[in-house]
Every structure is written in structure tokens, then in C-alpha cells.
Amino acid sequence: MSKANRNIVIIGNGISGVTCARHIRKKDESAQITIISGETDHFFSRTALMYIYMGHMKYEHTKPYEDWFWNKNRINLKRAWVEKIDFEVKALIFSNKESMTYDVLVLATGSKPNKFGWPGQDLKGVQGMYSYQDLELMESNTKDISKAVIVGGGLIGIEMAEMLNSRKIPVTFLVREKNFWDNILPLEESKMINRHILEHHIDLRLETELGEIIGDASGKVKAITTKTGEKIDCQFVGLTVGVSPNIEFLRTKPLESSENNKTIQTNRGIIVDRFFKTNIPDVYAIGDCAEFQETPAADRKNIEQVWYTGRMHGETLAFNLTSDKPVPYQPGVWFNSAKFLDIEYQTYGFVPPVWTEEYESLYWEDDGGKIAIRFLYGKSDMKIKGVNAFGWRLRHDYFDKAISEGWMFEKVLTHLNKASFNPEFFKSHHKAVLDQYNKQKGKSLKVHKMSFIQKLIGSRA
């Protein structure tokens, strides 16, 4: 399918768009590739925004490729906002009214923070956290303030709380749910993170919702109230109640000039099939902004706003655009990771917050309350289904195999030392976990031991 000298234009220089461009270039020497973004000149890691604010890195450290990389790979970068797309004549119109044509268009426009129409949500000092501009805004909004409130207990919420904490700005953290992130995490895990948040002197308010945001005479936030009427003074409000596909500009009315201008089909996101095709020929959507008409796998959602998914979308679409035999997108075993202040979290496979009768779980938590592991396995077939780990790094390839091949849970349990990815010399909790299982089940499984020599030379065999 590789037509010579195609003009491929990608809107969005995030992980999905950039991955797509890189992989197209690897297989197609002749294509003209252009990446457009209004956010920054170069691709940077959105996930690292918090570290810039905390002083761990500067912006330039978050750029995964040096600036010469794009030229060398003949990937044109254009800094501009696309305002409209004329699908009929295959042209983009920029906010400065310039235009650009394309043969193939890839929409990789990412997300934007949700706002739910709260009174006062547009006051100065109230903001979400998604883009580089948001970071700059947060920098100026939090200058010399003495109190902040974060609304919304998700991953970006806790990151924002950590950011403020690093600058010693007291934070009140409003979480609607009973426990932190308990729509994803099982109860014990949620409670562990609750405790850890408090340990960092963040004022965590569970089951608390935002009522309204109150401004002062100059239009700056000065307080919020909760739904129960409590008033909290603050000079900054972080709204982190999720993100939605960033597709507003696509929804604008068709261009008046051309009557039969096509519109792209959208719902919450841009509707695509398993090949990332939209309803318009030669137009594709990937990453955060794409919404699958049908979920790509039973345990997957229609929209997945994570880094890894964006990367895999980019890889797969690039393959399809450069190959005669396009393949449907087929994600493998689910995996994800995050860090809650000091506690790292990794998950592989299927671990819902609550599970049905078919499953059983083993949960072990260290006495210190900062290391934990949970396995979910089939009650009848005893096969491992998924794992959550906190403060305990696990090997991705091990669990990818174990879960996709349906290994026996007890085999995994006795071989945990092979599955662990913790740094050398870290305390092993393998035996403690196994002891707990043995005790609960009245069994006597034993740790699969390594010889002294194996340990000395670091053999995993």
C-alpha cells in the first residue's frame, strides 16, 4: 500500500502521533511526514510534567529525542493550531488562516481536562493539568500562595498534590469516592494509599465533593465550599476530575464554503474501527482521542487514556499504513503503572476493584504498610488472572506470559523470586507471601530456592 511520496500529516506530537511517525519512517523512505502541534515545538513526555514543577528535571530533559532527530529522520515539525479540517479537499486550516493539504491524515490530538460546570471554575487560580501551558500556568498561579485545593482523586490529582507538596504548599485533597481511586483499586490497596497520602501531610477528604469556587473582587479564587457547606480558603484550585478526548475543533460546523463538506463521526472521542479508520477515507485517529466502536478486547475500554495505549496505537497504525496486509489492533495482557507519592504501583492482567464468585484473591501487605501484592486467580481453574503490586516491582515479561498462557497460580507463587524486579539486595518478601497463603489454605508450598552459586552470579534459571 505504500504509495510513493505520500503526504502524511499527523495532528498531535504526543506519544501516539510521534510513535506513528517514527515507525512509518522506518518502513517508508519516501513518505513526506509532518507532525503538527500547537503545544510545543518538540515531543516531550507529558507524564514528566510534574517533575519539571518539582525541580527534578527541566523541560529539555523531558524530550525523549534530541532536536536533531527529526531532521535526520526527515520528519517535518510544524508548530501551529489546526482550527478546521476540510475533509473534502483534504486540507487543514490553521488558526492564522494558513492551510496545508494532506493525502493521509492521522488525528492524535490527545485529551483535555474535564470541567463540570462548577460555579467559579473559570476564576483565576483554577486550572486543570494536562498541557505544557497548564504547567506554566500552574507555575504562575501557585507563586507565593499559602493554600491549595485539589478536586478529584485520580492519578493526575495525586500528582498535582505531590507537586504542590514539593513546594511546601499545604494541600486539601477532595475525593468523591469512599477511598482513594477505589473505582480502580480494591479496598485494601485504596486504604493503603489513603494512609500514605495522609502520611505526607496532605489533607485528604474522602467522600467530599466540590460545591462551588468563590472568587474575590479581582476575579481570583479565594475559597471553595464543599457540598456539605464547609468553606476552605485557598488561592489555587486544581481540577483533576478526568480527561476527555480533545476534539472540540472537529465538532465545529462544516465549512460554509463547501456545501457537501463531510463531518467526522464522533461520540466522546473520534469513532474508529479496529484499524483506526474513521468514517472518512484516509483519516485515522489514535491515542487518547480515539474511541473504538467496539472494544478491542473483552477487558478493554473504548477509550483508553494511557501512555502505553497511545504508543501501541501509533505502532499499529504505522504498520498498517506501510503494509499490504493491515492488521486489526489487538492489545495484549493489560498492564499499567503509576506512583503514588513514594509508593510505586504496577498492575498486570485483570484485577478489578471488586470481583465475582468465579475468582479468588490473595492479598499480602507488609507490616510497614507500604508494600503489598494482590493476586487474582480462578477459583476453579486456579489459573492466575492478574496481579497488583505496591512498592514491589514485578517483571513485565514474566506476568505477560503467566497470564496469557494461564499459568497455575501456585506455580507463580512459588517462583515469585523470578518474577520480582526489585533492585538487588532489596529484602525479599517471597516467603512471607507464601506463608500467608499456606496459612490461609492449610497448604505447605515451598519457596523455589536458588543455590548459593546461582545467587552469587545472579542466575535466574
Binding site: 527534578h56 505526607h200 501512555w307 505502532e315 498492564f335 504496577q346 517483571r395 538487588e424
Partner: protein, 514 residues
């Protein structure tokens, strides 16, 4: 910052300032006897004659003293040189020894007092600052505010620190006669350890060791909860204190040559120099052991240990240069240049130095066995070029002086010939690698930023590729700072160690080759 830490800082700065200005105190007076006891017998008469105008005169500063000394001494030598009387020229440099012996100020009378109010109080202040660090905080990564810090991100404080260090090294290597007061302070310690008065090198070793220990304690605070960092830091502290500082002095006490058993050629570039070999051969069984042990380390130790554990067994667990970099230098690790260009320069430089060291040593050994006829002069020339350019300027002035400007491993990365040798083994025949954890990388860049060797760790991690790089010293910090648990330093089977075309796990649509 807690009050006690502020007090600590003030005390530390006080000690440092006093240390810096101490060399300018005191008076100097040269006597005939001083010359007689401090110069070689063959030079005694001449030196007494040349310097006689200075006898009995009291100089109120070392500048005045040294300036007079140099003018008399140089006038004498220059005269001979002009007449081409080369064999009469005095090539030895007596400036340091005579200045030190002529010092009559308070420092020579009260060395302990001055050691106390400069170095020891500095250590005390530093500990007051360091011990309460992160107290009351949870275990975890402590990198908040590093790029806002003037000291740690090439701000004014960093520049001043760099300038101070560079100056210190220049004076130490080439103008030690100006810091005799500092050397005098540690004389009693040197006497107690080795029975000899201190040289500038003893002073240097003393401060160096203290720096590793004090800043090692800082590492314990900073990386609390990370067993790898803690154990590795303990190891470098031990090797510096026991093997580099105490043991060599004790050897001297026993009339043995000064020897650091953990130093390995070609880092220890003078190992095969005539005087070293003769020294070892003439020192009985222990001397022979030094020679054989040194050779075993080069021929067997390096390849074997590096095969099993990677070069880290030396660079970040044993080595003194590495020890200083990992402790004193840790606050600056993020300043290393990660660009591909820097990597290119690195490879030319470090392998260039290795080639230089090998050729020079080859010639030296050939000379040794051919009875010094072959190229005798040339080797001496080479030795002094290497000693000046590599041993002093590169390893010291640039290697440490540039910590606050180019990161803490400038020497290890761009210059150390032993690191080059270890690196070749690590790259081509080793079980060590940093494993990348499947597809978990989010390209955040923490690993690359905090890699002191300037390795762009993320480049590999984000494509699911293991990191196998000759320069990696296995400090483990990339793994520590990774927020997603992507990196693990480990030794394992050679098979699958280098995965050039990794398949990133998680996408079953295609088997993507990055």
C-alpha cells in the same frame, strides 16, 4: 531547613573559609640547617650558597618567601642553562620542602588547633547539616528542587564551588609550596601513621577520605531505604579509608613502598615505572606480593569480575575516584551531558587515553628490560606528559574541579583508561546488563537525567531494549529514580542480554521491532 542545619552550614563555611585563607598566615625564616636537612647531599653545598642571602631573614608571607627563593634559585639555574652546563643544573624542586620547613607561624606550633578550626570544624558543621536531612520524611526519591538549586544546577554557587575546586587542584599539583600551612596541620597525623612528616599528598588523601566519609553519610540519608545504594556506599567508604588511606601509610611505617592494593593499572599509571618496580622487588615477600597481586588484578581480576558483575564491581564499589564521585559528586550527577555528541567525544577521548597509557607502559617495560638504553629519554618525556596532562590536569583539575559544571564523572567517563578497559570487557563479554521491564517505560527522562555517565538510558528503556553500555558504572541511580520500576541492574545469562531489536510487550497486533 531546620535551625540546626543552618548552624551546621554556617560552621562549615566558617571552616572552609579559614582553610582557604590559612595558607596566608604565619612567618617564614630560612636557616642554613634547614637547607642542610632538606636537600639531597649532592646539592647541599650549592643550595646553601645560592640561598645564603635569605638566611635569618623573616618573611611575613609565603608569597614573599617563595618569590625570593625562586629568584635566587632560578638565577642560579638559568645561569647554568645559559652556559649549557646541564649536568650542574639542579632539577629537583625544593620549593615545597624548604617553604614548609621554614614556616615559623602559629600553625607549625599548634597544628591540632588549626586542624580543629578548619577541617574538623568543617566536618562537624557538615554533619550537623547532613544528619537531620530528610528526617521525618518518608523513604523515597529526594530530588525535589534540584534544578532550582544554585549549587546543583550551575548557578552562582555551583560556579564558585567549581572555581574553588579547580584552584585547589592547580595549587595542589603545581604550587604546593603555597599551602604548606595546610600540610603542617596534618603533620602529626602523618607522623603517627607512617612515621614521616606529611606531604601535600598526605593532606590531599586525608581530606579526600574525609570527604568520602562525610558525603557517604549524606548518601545514607538521601537513599535511605535503598539497600543497593547503602551497601555500595559503605563499600567505597571502606575501600577509601582502609585501602587507599590507612594501609599505604602503615606500609610506609613498615619501611615498605607506599602502595594502594586496590588501585589497578592503567588507572595506577605508574605501576610499571622503574622506581615502582624496583621498590616492590626490593621489598621482600610483601613487595613481590604487591607486584604479583597488581598483575593478577590486571590480567585476571578485571576480566573475571567484570564478566560476572560488570565494571561496577570496581567503578562504584571499590575505586577511589569513583568513591569521591559517588559521594562528594552525587549532588551534581544530573549535570552530565546526555547528547549523542558527548558520547562520541567520550569514546574518542577515553580510548585515546587508554592507547596512550598502554603504549607508554609498553615502552617503559621494554626500556626496563633493555637496561634503559632504548629510548630512555623518550619514556621519561612520556611519563611527564602523561603525569601532567592525564594524571594531574585531566584526573584532578578537570575530573573533580568540574563536578559542579559537567557532573561528577568527568574523569571516569572521558579519561580513565582503566574504565575504558573495564568498559570493553563489560560491553563485549559480561553477564551484567540493565534490564528494561517490558513496555512499562513512560519516557519521563528521570533515568537519563540522573545518569552520571551521561547515558541516555531512556533511549533504550522506551524501546524495550536492555542497556548494555561500556560506560555504565552500575551506580544504580537510574533504577532508583525510575518512577515506573522499569530498570533493574542484574547479572544473568549472556543469552538475550543484548536485544538489539526488542519487541515491546503489550501489543499483540504486530510484533513491533523498534
Amino acid at each position: 531547613m531546620k535551625t540546626i542545619q543552618k548552624i551546621g552550614l554556617v560552621i562549615f563555611v566558617f571552616g572552609l573559609v579559614l582553610f582557604t585563607f590559612l595558607p596566608f598566615f604565619g612567618t617564614y625564616q630560612l636557616e642554613k640547617e634547614t637547607v642542610e636537612t632538606n636537600v639531597k647531599e649532592i646539592h647541599t653545598d650549592k643550595m646553601v650558597e645560592v640561598l645564603s642571602p635569605m638566611f635569618g631573614k623573616t618573611y611575613s608571607s609565603n608569597f614573599a618567601f617563595i618569590s625570593d627563593f625562586k629568584s635566587y634559585f632560578n638565577t642560579y639555574n638559568d645561569g647554568l642553562k645559559a652556559n649549557q652546563e646541564w649536568d650542574k643544573v639542579i632539577w629537583d624542586n625544593y620549593a615545597f620542602a624548604l617553604t614548609k620547613a621554614s614556616a615559623t607561624g602559629p600553625v607549625s606550633e599548634n597544628p591540632f588547633l588549626f586542624l580543629g578550626i578548619t577541617v574538623l570544624i568543617g566536618v562537624f558543621g557538615a554533619l550537623l547539616y547532613i544528619l537531620p536531612l530528610y528526617r521525618g520524611q518518608t523513604e523515597g526519591i529526594k530530588n525535589d528542587g534540584i534544578f532550582f538549586s544554585s549549587m546543583k544546577s550551575k548557578g552562582l554557587l555551583g560556579m564558585i564551588t567549581g572555581a574553588w575546586l579547580i584552584l585547589f587542584y592547580i595549587v595542589l599539583y603545581w604550587f604546593p609550596e603555597y599551602i604548606t600551612n595546610l600540610v603542617l596541620m596534618v603533620d602529626p597525623i602523618s607522623m603517627a601513621l607512617s612515621g614521616n612528616p606529611a606531604s601535600q599528598w598526605f593532606l590531599y588523601g586525608f581530606i579526600y577520605t574525609l570527604a568520602i566519609i562525610v558525603m557517604g553519610i549524606r548518601m545514607f540519608r538521601k537513599y535511605r531505604g535503598n539497600a543497593y545504594q547503602t551497601i555500595r556506599t559503605t563499600s567505597v567508604m571502606f575501600f577509601q579509608l582502609a585501602f587507599a588511606f590507612l594501609l599505604p601509610e602503615i606500609l610506609v611505617l613498615m619501611n615498605m613502598p607506599w602502595h594502594d592494593f586496590k588501585n589497578i593499572w592503567p588507572l595506577d599509571y605508574s605501576f610499571f615505572y622503574e622506581y615502582r618496580i624496583d621498590g616492590m622487588i626490593s621489598s621482600g615477600a610483601l613487595g613481590m606480593f604487591m607486584l604479583i597481586w597488581g598483575i593478577i588484578l590486571i590480567v585476571v581480576g578485571v576480566p573475571l569480575f567484570t564478566y560476572f558483575y560488570g565494571k561496577r564491581w570496581y567503578c562504584s564499589w571499590v575505586c577511589g575516584c569513583g568513591g569521591l564521585a559517588e559521594t562528594l559528586g552525587d549532588p551534581y550527577r544530573q549535570l552530565s551531558d546526555k547528547s549523542v555528541k558527548a558520547w562520541k567525544i567520550e569514546r574518542y577521548l577515553i580510548h585515546g587515553v587508554l592507547v596512550f597509557a598502554v603504549l607508554m607502559t609498553g615502552l617503559t617495560i621494554a626500556n626496563y628490560f633493555s637496561g634503559f638504553e632504548l629510548l630512555g629519554q623518550a619514556t621519561d618525556q612520556l611519563h611527564s606528559i602523561y603525569g601532567f596532562a592525564i594524571g594531574s590536569a585531566f584526573a584532578g583539575v578537570i575530573g573533580t574541579g568540574f563536578y559542579p559544571l559537567m557532573g561528577n564523572r568527568v574523569w571516569c567517563r572521558f579519561g580513565c583508561p582503566l574504565a575504558a578497559y573495564l568498559g570493553l570487557v563489560q560491553r563485549f563479554k559480561s553477564r551484567f546488563r540493565i534490564t528494561t521491564n517490558g513496555g512499562q517505560c513512560i519516557s519521563c527522562g528521570n533515568c537519563s537525567t540522573y545518569c552520571e555517565m551521561g547515558i541516555d538510558v531512556r533511549w533504550y528503556a522506551q524501546r524495550g531494549q536492555n542497556i548494555v553500555r561500556s560506560s555504565c558504572v552500575g551506580c544504580g541511580v537510574c533504577s532508583a529514580v525510575c518512577p515506573r520500576g522499569v530498570l533493574k541492574l542484574e547479572n544473568g545469562d549472556e543469552e538475550g542480554r543484548i536485544n538489539e531489536m526488542p519487541i515491546i510487550i503489550g501489543n499483540n497486533s504486530i510484533t513491533v521491532k523498534a
